[in-house]
Symmetry: D3
Subunit: 273 residues, 6 copies
Amino acid sequence: MFHHSSKLQYEVRVDTPDPQFAKFLQQAIGGVEGEIRVAMQYFFQAMGARGDSKYRDLLMMTATEELSHIEFLGHAVALNLEGAPVTVQEEAAKDPVVNAIMGGANPRHILSSGLSAMPVNSNGVPFDMSHVYATGNLAADMMANAMAEGSGRVLASRLYNMTDDAGMKDMLSFLIARDTMHQQQWLAVIEELGGMESVLPIPNSTSEKHEATDHSYYFLNTSMDEPTPEGRWSSGPSLDGRSEFSVRTPEPLGQKPDLGKARKNSGAQKEQM
Amino acid sequence: MFHHSSKLQYEVRVDTPDPQFAKFLQQAIGGVEGEIRVAMQYFFQAMGARGDSKYRDLLMMTATEELSHIEFLGHAVALNLEGAPVTVQEEAAKDPVVNAIMGGANPRHILSSGLSAMPVNSNGVPFDMSHVYATGNLAADMMANAMAEGSGRVLASRLYNMTDDAGMKDMLSFLIARDTMHQQQWLAVIEELGGMESVLPIPNSTSEKHEATDHSYYFLNTSMDEPTPEGRWSSGPSLDGRSEFSVRTPEPLGQKPDLGKARKNSGAQKEQM
Amino acid sequence: MFHHSSKLQYEVRVDTPDPQFAKFLQQAIGGVEGEIRVAMQYFFQAMGARGDSKYRDLLMMTATEELSHIEFLGHAVALNLEGAPVTVQEEAAKDPVVNAIMGGANPRHILSSGLSAMPVNSNGVPFDMSHVYATGNLAADMMANAMAEGSGRVLASRLYNMTDDAGMKDMLSFLIARDTMHQQQWLAVIEELGGMESVLPIPNSTSEKHEATDHSYYFLNTSMDEPTPEGRWSSGPSLDGRSEFSVRTPEPLGQKPDLGKARKNSGAQKEQM
Amino acid sequence: MFHHSSKLQYEVRVDTPDPQFAKFLQQAIGGVEGEIRVAMQYFFQAMGARGDSKYRDLLMMTATEELSHIEFLGHAVALNLEGAPVTVQEEAAKDPVVNAIMGGANPRHILSSGLSAMPVNSNGVPFDMSHVYATGNLAADMMANAMAEGSGRVLASRLYNMTDDAGMKDMLSFLIARDTMHQQQWLAVIEELGGMESVLPIPNSTSEKHEATDHSYYFLNTSMDEPTPEGRWSSGPSLDGRSEFSVRTPEPLGQKPDLGKARKNSGAQKEQM
Amino acid sequence: MFHHSSKLQYEVRVDTPDPQFAKFLQQAIGGVEGEIRVAMQYFFQAMGARGDSKYRDLLMMTATEELSHIEFLGHAVALNLEGAPVTVQEEAAKDPVVNAIMGGANPRHILSSGLSAMPVNSNGVPFDMSHVYATGNLAADMMANAMAEGSGRVLASRLYNMTDDAGMKDMLSFLIARDTMHQQQWLAVIEELGGMESVLPIPNSTSEKHEATDHSYYFLNTSMDEPTPEGRWSSGPSLDGRSEFSVRTPEPLGQKPDLGKARKNSGAQKEQM
Amino acid sequence: MFHHSSKLQYEVRVDTPDPQFAKFLQQAIGGVEGEIRVAMQYFFQAMGARGDSKYRDLLMMTATEELSHIEFLGHAVALNLEGAPVTVQEEAAKDPVVNAIMGGANPRHILSSGLSAMPVNSNGVPFDMSHVYATGNLAADMMANAMAEGSGRVLASRLYNMTDDAGMKDMLSFLIARDTMHQQQWLAVIEELGGMESVLPIPNSTSEKHEATDHSYYFLNTSMDEPTPEGRWSSGPSLDGRSEFSVRTPEPLGQKPDLGKARKNSGAQKEQM
């Protein structure tokens, strides 16, 4: 069950409101790299967690934190929209600089939300929940979470660079820090489970009898004119310790497909029948 | 530039066509765990690759392989649809067993595609390209790729369990094998880059001055009644070797948000102004 | 800031797991009538609330409750999936009754989530956040909220009818009850604001000079062969007390549109230029 | 059956074409607050209307009017795009003011539609029909309609403020007026049905035996540090006249969820089994 | 401006209601091959029509007819849902045959719409307006329209085969007929414009100076092991009469792409810089 | 099976990087008129091709070419983003001209992709695979393909006009040329099949007994005040040579719909029952 306290997890201060930066910040709320995604992803993973219950708790606790991130980012968007022109009669609207800025703003911040945050990305595309990855496999989910936090910290770093507002920089430095921790905590679960050698290949419960292991450890060079890029992946022991990496060039192992003629009444043209 | 040869990468054989399994297989084509996603993800990452060009090559070569996976899976869907009733007059359509199976089939395999594969998942939802994760950050992208292959192998393993057709099991065992390799190859890139200690936190190019490092290494226990789950993430050195993990309980660091009154002409109710 | 306690807001008991009902329940999680929608809608409205802060509090408190509804519904979905066949070798999978049920189940509950809830509706379509209505206008938002709870209680009532599991009926009777309260509380805000006469037309801050009031109070009968349906809307005082309702038949007040010729270089055919 | 006459429902005049305002106007066509939505919503509600046929007629008549609104708005978009530069060689394209305006225009108005309206919102996101709310419950549908018209009039008022073109202001004042009427007509249906006391809770046909009425009339204060906001919703008779409002603080009524171990063959990690 | 008359364009009779066929019929309403699409496509094309106004009229007249098709199909869906079980207590719901049928039904027809049509396809995926193709180029639009009607008639033919209800067959035979006419009428516009030789290449207003005509008339055989399929496209005069068809094999004309190093502050890993 | 060679199909040269043009170019990658669409459309049509296998080959060969188009366009986007400001401290970011340009750029090119191409259109909306039209009917598919290439060449022509970069113009002139060929090759298939008279109506395999041929050849004038536009479609022999075109005015052939009362337990209001 969820509860709320009235203060924000972190202080939000905007020294100079900037409607264009409000649009940029939306990426951190409703983008695929954003907070709605991680909040919902950890929440759904927690609800489906099977096995040691400590992982369920870990997931739910961080889901709860991410909801608080949405909250302070939402406030930051609203504060950046303070003073944006809502009528063309306003002085601001006549200023060419303001005009240029507004050309780069999200018109729906004025037209639809009335100067507040929306669950959309920086292009105004609404977040859709297909990005909530929750497989029921703990290791796959941890990878998905580390990935989400990795791209989240990339985004926060870029946003940090795109503003010179001291308040915004301070808030983003907090986000960057939390994304550091969250990347690590999900990867730490993998260490706790024995590290990559132990968790790979995901799922590690698939019977070897279900796997054509002849094909499990070669890199396929599908290029017609480039040599195989050499590295950890092209030779030496596999990461799961079960085999050795090698390289192959493509050799079709299958047939040329042929579906024959179309059936009567299947809606094809007569010439296909 | 791309080229094509006429044979499939792997042989596709369907002993007993099964329209319901055709629907299930769609998840491996147009699902978020599927092959369109990885083909396009590696392709777009390759096109945006900066730095050592061997990673670009690696990405493009595997993107090319994944296109071939779409191709043989598409053929498998079509073969599973052979014999599905296209009119209610057919004998098959009168059989209650067939009827039950058809209740579980995707009607668009008959109505829209004329008994062939579609770029949709097992619910008939079309794949959308927002799932192509490509950040321009090599480590973040490798995590995204390992994640995609992890969930892909989970899916292939589940599909393997949901059929007893020997041909389909054979094809899926090949997919399981390739997903093993692909998981490993992307994580091997991270090893090549120095391993987790070196690549974390992603992006490792963010200046420490941009990070509120006081907040970078504690786990936040947001629960009101559960103790912190203890593990690799709650104490000991951080994965990036920069600090020590600790635990905190939530303490709001910010203000209670207050946006004041609505502005004139902002479309709010008078009572808000 | 958000917090969590480990117990569910309401007890979830499933006497007889039913994978088809698990699919149905998804509508209450990820459908437009469901709990993700209201949780996020009230959350975003709260973040954008301007004017008397008690409405912000009201919204945030109920947003928090709705998150708890997602949580117990998610658990109900997982419990309904217990025992669903995950391989075709299982006894259950050979039972024709089970087969028929599975034909009506969501295959992604097996293939994608590993027997747990997903943020999708009963067709497997992911929730998308464009359904979070938050206008910045308090009265418009209250209408949106009452609407959401109205359709939510319609759904919960229908779900109640579609199960005979005592545990599920008990849980749904709780949801029906809370939807009763929530419908009323949002409409009570409108009463608090002076009732319909006072809040209409929304927004009540639009200057009458911006409205072509000649056209504000007539019902337009666009039918060529049906009389105007008579009722409260066709005569008598308007709900806002500003005028009288009347009826008109359509009379085009505008021109026949004509865009003239296409411009050179506009990508049209020569014949259009 | 539908018919068409060649003149627009209302005159459209654009004194000074403005490609940026063309983009803004798209919100009134393809936004969730726009005319495609209400046209289709009333149309689908009409097609599903059961009970007194006058409501079906009412819905279909207004659906028909809304189609005419799409039509004149579409013409307004096209007229605002007259003169937008279609090649960089044009004089207009070299003017910095035009450039700034074009930065704020929708590039697809040039690239995709050839200077005419599209069924998208002001961010260029296509309208999707999931926003057509039609429940089969008359009262729920009337609330949905009043909500749609409320947000529609908020939008039209904001658009009015964002232009100083006299023709556009005139057209928008007509839209504002029609939205006034439509808000009222749908709420008037509720009055016709006996008013809120009679229609609530929606659906009023749900048996009281299906409702845990102990939970139907209290406001749940989920905040840990804020008092309950007092108002019409916190005490006094409920709006449906069946009970009294009260307030409660959260007390989990359910269990701590526990799904146990993952099943063999379910695609989880071994450690979860 | 639009008008409505109360009778349907064509009679709808359902002899034996069938909820599964109701789901199938949805493809003809909200599928990409369906009536919402063509209605809206012709409507938006009409609104953007430039050049001879007779094409605008043609488009608007047929848009209006397609709205009437939505209407009678919507009625057909509702009639097919008559008698579908809305509670598990109903006799029908206990019948295994009904159960199997319901497994193949759309649960939202019961849960969301209350036994009536929805603007979704046969998978329950809502129609989205990105499928409204309207380019501002008359010939491109006519091709899009002929295509839409072609796929529409394919769908109607398949639906005809999937029912043995005499009423439904009668209604579908009408749809098949109208799709015949509509295919032809859009292609007849192309004949009116001078036929393919005259309208190709679309747009025919593109200056030849903007086209690398060396590359305009060869078929590129990208296969490594298949001969070029010979036909009208591989030799002989081009359809626009401007040249001769030929065949080439792929020869990269461009460079190997190289983006160099990532920039400082661009969010990449240090190793990319 | 697919293969790749390292050089681009066509040379990409950008003389003056332009982030706004990078955004425009996205339409040719991830727009409905773009290359992902045709690549995937031809690929899925090929996989479902039944009948003469030469059409399968034709489709697969051109699908392969279109993948190469994505590749060089993706490189063009990245090159146009060279030099775009990634921090507000950069000189470029302080330049008002740059600022105006950036207002018109896609912020996700900086925030999400790190200065490279994305699978989105020029509004930043991700491509979704519902636009892959593949019906299993050869003639319908050829029309869909010709349509796609028609709108693609319209787009390429408009992009050509919107840049004065010599490198970009050169690349676009190649795209224009290939779209010329591709339009023709798909229409040439129709000629190969006997031309329009032979392939129409699509599908030509539908039995005449399934068609209400009385309704197959008249144009329906649904306008109340406009004469029928006269042309090839209103009189003379039909394109399929089976009949004569004529004109009719609308006469409802169906009933006034009436669904009667709502059923008990269907979730409607009591007043509807």
